[in-house]
Symmetry: C2
Subunit: 145 residues, 2 copies
């Protein structure tokens, strides 16, 4: 079953652009529902995988460390996040999600309506295929075997 022959990398890149634009819009809207900006939502999402040092957030979000200070300041002021001193290195501050922060992450994920509706058009096998292909394209270098 030849899905559609002749998809060159430029066409795929173009589709990435459109798809990610749609995802980003959906994400931004879901975050706005919680009175969070896209950057704040993205930061909380990273933290949902476990505590991260300020430096680590700056690396993941690909921005200057000084930027993170302000974002965490605002999230901390709202009680969604907490700075904790690192036991091993007193320079380092680990950022931890509070229960309220976890709730916010859940709420955002639950309200990604457009994206979820799109995913619902795939059956289980198609989801598995998409997952495998996307993973190869975007997480190759962090690659476990």
């Amino acid at each position: 079953m030849p899905k559609s022959p002749r998809v060159d990398p430029d066409q795929l890149l173009e589709l990435f652009s459109v798809s990610f634009g749609a995802y980003y819009g959906d994400f931004t809207a879901a975050a706005a529902r919680e009175n969070l900006t896209a950057s704040q939502g993205k930061t909380l999402g990273e933290l949902s995988r476990g505590p991260v040092a300020m430096r680590g957030l700056a690396d993941t979000l690909a921005c200057d460390a000084s930027n993170i200070t302000g974002i965490i300041d605002r999230l901390e002021k709202r009680g969604l996040v907490r700075r904790e001193p690192s036991p091993g290195d007193r320079r380092v501050k680990n950022v931890v999600l509070t229960p309220e922060g976890e709730q916010a992450v859940e709420a955002i994920r639950a309200h990604m309506d457009t994206t979820r509706a799109g995913m619902d058009t795939l059956d289980a096998e198609e989801r598995a295929t998409l997952h495998a292909l996307l993973k190869r394209v975007f997480t190759a270098r962090c690659g476990e075997s």
Copy 2:
């Protein structure tokens, strides 16, 4: 060949988050190379598909129209873009990419190194499959037959 059984929507959503983060970082870096911010790059990318009214850009980029005014101001000042009156409606201004603007878009697309490297790990059939699946998830509602 069962790729990987049991990928539920939440896992796929999670992978979207990571993948789009990687894409966004790559895009931002490529845009920065041209002395453009991510928003400016995204705007130019939209315009590469043809002229768009200010209002249309605001809709596509999912932000307030007043925002677009500033972005286009800066792009126009740098000669990457031009405002043209719409023949049919004198309220509307169509934004057109200049040749310099087209060059900038090409340069950004050419320097999406991480993403291109990831795509190179796929063969032609896998690209076609990924294209078809992504398209179904994210462009269903604009759907031509």
